[in-house]
Amino acid sequence: MRNVYVPVPAKIIDIKIETRDVKTYRLVFEYDGFRDDFSFSAGQFVEFSVPAVGESTFCIASAPDDKGYIECSVKKVGKVTEAIHMLEIDNMVGIRGPYGNCFPIEDMKDKDVIFVGGGIGLAPLRSLIRQVLSGRENFKKITIIYGARSVQDLVYKVELEEWQKRADIKTVLTVDPGGETADWKGRIGFIPSVLEEVSPSGTNSIVITCGPPIMIKFVLLTLDKLGFAPEQILTTLEMKMKCGVGQCGRCNVGNIYVCKDGPVFTYSQIKEFIEEIN
């Protein structure tokens, strides 16, 4: 019986600098048997350990079909993430997972799919976007609305360009007023107002949103205005976690554990939470 708290070793094989405080780490499992067996669904997360420093929760940002490696995008905000940012290629880290539930991709088929992301919130969405795009014919209209405080803060810039080039998806990028550069060709405006301008239809569609709490708050108000019901809105929650498997109690809200019963929830489920979490 494997001890669920003990991580497996993983090696960093690539580090991409996304912004001034976000880096994406590509990891390969060194543990025989784990390398080929590790599989996950978009929306799940891992517990990422730095020896002698600590462990943190990160969603898997690579696509489930990317065999042989996983990617995590890490924003530098505290002790562990600062230590992660000092790691180099070939350094070993510990990974536990995958944990959590996943985006219900089956429920999105034959519907319009709208992604609304802000800042680092694009990380969990990216896994799902790539999975959806690899089966593009199963979905109707696909819209990606993504923004950040400034051009500098946009993540996955290479991928954003690829998505913009595609004719079969609508990609709208925006930066907050004041965050544009001289040659910025995207929109300028806060994400909720850009969402309102794009005005996707609430009929037979599903929205997946992730970003800072203030953005989510206003995006939900806008979606309500546009006619989206709470069951049509999916998001992925962030919560302090330690064990990742529903035992330590930290992420316990009402009778659910965000690590075990989430982190993906519909807005109607979140409204049912006994406790307000933002």
């Binding site: 019986m1 494997r2 001890n3 669920v4 708290y5 003990v6 991580p7 497996v8 070793p9 350990s49 020896p51 002698a52 420093v53 600590g54 462990e55 943190s56 905000v77 505290g78 002790k79 562990v80 993430t81 350094n91 070993m92 510990g94 709490p213 962030e238 919560m239 302090k240 330690k242 064990c243 498997v245 529903g246 035992q247 330590c248 109690g249 930290r250 316990n252 009402g254 009778n255 075990k260 006994i274 406790e275 307000e276 979490i277 933002n278």
Partner: protein, 325 residues
């Protein structure tokens, strides 16, 4: 279920014979207070008591334990010594009931390997409670001074020098060597009378209001939580509390007890905390025990031992607080 009568000397001899092959944990004095701790002989064991300061969860879910060593070039897991068998002596029914509650979490979806190993190698000898304390309220939560849930062997007094043993599991069978005598009807009635007397002595009752769920948003919690100083004693001494922290000390990853009343329990790296105010923390403790655990596992995570009330430095009374909500 086997029942037998042993007199006190026979019982002591039986237990003495177990010191050879088992580590024995029992109630014994330390610095003027009573604790469950490893003992080397029956002379150290106390027979007349209500309940020690600590409870038996310490021996399955220790205050801190090293999980593994994590370095760049190796990961070494630490598993508990499962060759060493252990007996917990004279546990009360409230504490043994709590262990069954913890089983639902630790041996659930993800089996906690060290907890499971310790459960398998430990045999529990329970002792019925003759004189409950004023703080006890086990009956209103489905327990009782002579209850046997969670025990492998239960010892109930018949008279001062005679005991009725119930052997409840195979593990219990393995440790009772004495044949004893079959209980006579008269002896059973004597025990039954002691049981009635003990049950009547428990006057405190906890009464969870039927609309407890709806009371979540009430301002009541702001008032009752004011005295709390977030010391965590209630959590550490509660047999049913089980939340923990995972921290790094050097290259060792350690799991240790934690309390939802701690300031850092829900605080995230960039400073967000959805439970910053004290009343929210206290409310979480109460609702986790009396609402959420019941919704998830079918039972309330409180066994009525009363330790939280006895040792709280500001005398917060969980029974009063829940009953008046």
């Amino acid at each position: 279920m086997d029942m037998l009568i042993l007199n006190k000397n026979e019982l002591i001899d039986n237990i003495k014979s177990l010191f050879k092959d088992y580590e024995i944990v029992g109630p014994s004095q330390l610095d003027g207070k009573l604790y469950f701790r490893p003992v080397k002989s029956m002379d150290e064991v106390v027979w007349d008591f209500v309940n020690p300061v600590n409870n038996i969860k310490d021996f399955f879910f220790p205050p801190s334990q090293v999980l593994y060593e994590l370095r760049q070039d190796r990961i070494k897991a630490f598993e508990p010594d499962t060759k060493k068998k252990r007996i917990i002596l004279f546990a009360r029914s409230c504490d043994t009931r709590a262990l069954n509650l913890l089983d639902k979490l630790f041996i659930g979806n993800y089996k906690d390997t060290s907890y499971t190993a310790r459960r398998e190698t430990t045999t529990i000898i329970g002792l019925s409670c003759l004189e409950p304390a004023d703080r006890c309220f086990c009956i209103s939560l489905g327990g009782g001074p002579f209850a046997t849930k969670g025990m492998d062997v239960s010892i109930s007094p018949v008279r001062k020098d005679k005991f009725l043993l119930h052997i409840l599991t195979d593990k219990g069978k393995d440790i009772i060597a004495e044949q004893g005598t079959r209980p006579e009807r008269e002896e059973l009635s004597l025990t039954e009378a002691l049981k009635q007397k003990a049950e009547e002595a428990i006057k405190r009752k906890i009464n969870i209001p039927s609309d407890f769920f709806e009371k979540f948003d009430s301002d009541y919690w702001k008032g009752v939580s004011q005295a709390c100083i977030k010391c965590g004693i209630c959590t550490y001494l509660c047999p049913a509390c089980h939340c923990f922290d995972i921290i790094d000390e050097g290259y060792f990853r350690i799991r240790c007890w934690d309390t939802c009343s701690s300031d850092t329990f829900t605080k995230m790296a960039a400073g967000e905390d959805h439970r910053k105010q004290k009343y929210k923390k206290y409310r979480q403790r109460i609702y986790h025990k009396f609402q959420y655990y019941k919704e998830n596992f079918g039972e309330i995570a409180c066994v009525g031992c009363g330790r939280c009330t006895t040792y709280c430095p500001v005398k917060m009374d969980i029974v009063e607080i829940v009953n008046n909500s």
